[in-house]
């Protein structure tokens, strides 16, 4: 066999033969022996030798590491413009070399796809557009299976809905309450410091109730739910996809949307406004606690001020936002879960992506609704 490619095609054979170097390979190719061999071969190639013969007669035992040193020596010689022949291999050593024949021939380097800036930009744009289309189709599907199909007699998985309500709603009440209460305290403290310079501390009550009705309860709840439920949805669906459970469902002719997504959509649409309402009450309660403790108002004066300040319109603003956030959280979670690629590692990435997208979209939607309410309604 002639492992190296001939690099001296234009030279006369005699000329090549005259500069042939024979290098004896030591009896074992350990790391030190291999390194020495590599040096000798590279040295011979560098000093103008066009043909090198590696004499393997002395080599007693060849393992794959020794084989790797041989291959490295052959490649170094080829790089230096010399061709290498292996000679004198005996018995098992020869068989090992036969076994490694493909490796000696060298596998071609993998094709490098060059991606310029425009290529990358275009690919990204197309991918984003396609993804938007996927998300849209999934949403339409989800709307159908959640709100239309049950009335067409195609059924709804009530048991799954109850489980989802428990997971996304009931079990979130504690953390949503606590965080909104604490946020109420913080807002009341911050605004009391400002209000006291003008002696209008009673308006802290108004500020807290309006702030929580329009914005703070829903945004706090939205972030808690996206971290709790949005991530759980993405991780669950992604894992099911990786383990081919989604394929199994499809293979049984069942609708993934009906089976997995519709219960989640309905559950979160029910639980999110309720959680927001609870968050609102707890935030206002937090404001009251500070009012009572530190500013010295009675419950009655605080209550009157609160009732005066709160309007149905403010509450509606929070309600509309909560429904919108619910849709964002569930659809982003489902979409990211179902488009997972890359096995187990993809599950973590899908979950991260879902939560980051959730929070981004929640803030954007919040800005949008606040603008509409501020300028137009």
């Amino acid at each position: 066999m002639s492992p190296a490619h001939p690099t001296d095609m234009d030279q006369k054979p005699e000329a090549a033969e005259s500069r042939r170097t024979v290098i004896a390979v030591p009896d074992a190719l350990s790391d030190t022996g291999g390194a020495r061999l590599l040096e000798e071969v590279a040295g011979a190639a560098a000093s103008g030798s066009r043909a090198i013969t590696l004499d393997l007669a002395g080599l007693k035992r060849l393992d794959s590491r020794g084989g790797a040193w041989l291959i490295r020596a052959v490649r170094a010689a080829s790089a230096g413009g010399a061709r290498v022949d292996l000679a004198g291999a005996r018995g098992e050593t020869a068989e090992v070399i036969d076994l490694l024949a493909t490796s000696f021939a060298g596998s071609p380097p993998p094709p490098q796809r060059s991606t310029g800036f425009l290529d990358a930009f275009g690919n990204k744009a197309f991918a984003s557009w396609a993804e938007l289309g996927d998300a849209w189709r999934l949403t339409v599907d989800a709307v159908y299976w959640s709100f239309i199909a049950p009335f067409e007699g195609k059924g709804l998985r009530w048991k799954a809905l109850v489980t989802e309500l428990n997971d996304t709603g009931m079990r979130a009440i504690g953390i949503v309450s606590l965080l909104n209460f604490l946020l109420g305290l913080v807002i009341a403290m911050l605004s009391a410091a400002q209000a006291s310079t003008f002696g209008v501390q009673i308006y802290v009550a108004s500020l807290v109730v309006i702030g929580f009705a329009k914005e703070l309860a829903v945004i706090m709840t939205g972030i808690v739910v996206s971290a709790r439920t949005g991530s759980a949805i993405a991780a669950e669906l992604a894992t099911m996809k990786v383990y081919e459970e989604i394929d199994a469902l499809k293979g049984m002719g069942l609708s993934v949307t009906k089976f997995l997504i519709a219960p989640k959509v309905l559950a979160i649409l029910i639980s999110m406004p309720i959680l927001t309402a609870i968050g609102f009450v707890m935030g206002v309660a937090g404001g009251f606690v500070l009012n009572a403790m530190s500013l010295g108002f009675t419950f009655e004066s605080w209550w009157n001020q609160t009732l005066q300040a709160a309007t149905i319109r403010d509450l509606m603003q929070g309600g509309v936002k909560s429904v919108c956030f619910a849709v964002i959280i569930v659809m982003v979670g489902c979409h990211n879960g179902l488009r997972v690629t890359g096995g187990v590692r993809g599950v973590g990435m899908a979950t991260t992506r879902a939560v980051v997208t959730d929070i981004f979209l929640i803030i954007v939607a919040d800005l949008f609704f606040t603008t509409i309410f501020y300028y137009f309604l």
């Binding site: 291999g34 393992d63 794959s64 590491r65 084989g67 790797a68 040193w69 291959i71 490295r72 490649r75 098992e92 068989e95 090992v96 076994l99 490694l100 493909t102 490796s103 596998s107 071609p108 993998p110 690629t341 890359g342 096995g343 187990v344 590692r345 993809g346």
Partner: protein, 260 residues
Amino acid sequence: MEKKPIVEVRDLVAGYGDTLVLDRVSLDVYEGEIIVVIGGSGCGKSTLLKNMVGLLRPVSGAIRYWGKEITFMDEDELARLLQQLGIAFQSGALFNSMTVAENIALPMEEYGHMDPELRDILVGIKLDLVGLSGTGPLMPDELSGGMKKRVGFARAIAMDPRIVFFDEPSTSLDPIIAAGLDKLILEMRHLLGITVFVVTHDLGSIRMIADRIVMLDRGRVIFTGTIADVEKTDVPRVRQFFGREPDKTIEARGVETAPG
């Protein structure tokens, strides 16, 4: 076979929690042989393998490598021993977050600081050996099940181990690839002097590679011998296994194996 065994398993009792799967299993592994452990599904083959490589700790009994008991080894000693063993898991057990080449290079990098160029060549050799040249830059999820298994094999032999353990090497491979893998096992044994411990129930593979066969049934060793001994034996379960004869009814066996 008058040599001293390199692995001795003595009266091994093992299981999961309260369920005992292996009941006083004893066997020897000799240097340079291919020993095949066979048995029906759920007979304890995989449990035996996991105990032998220290993934599970036995309830009682001894497992000795070159005379050293592994159940008494601390983590460092066990790690040193495991460097001399290669394990090829049933579905490859590749690390999903690494490329194929990185998967194979991992043990080389972790044990002993290898020159990167030599390491790349060595990774290339291992991939060539299992017939997957050029797949180094791929991610595991881009491979088929059979390819993953072969990469798992390449990773198991990455460090030129003295003993290689195979969990079901030919299951879920097509007959051509499976036969190729069997041939590779034979070549590796012949050329590199590797000892091979295979758990399988693939009859074709058993006939092709086995020097010695150990059959487990319901947690016990019921047969030890060569393929020639199999033809002569009158242990009914062995004859049934090699004759591919079904149980009378599946239920009947279910009742037999039910605990208690």
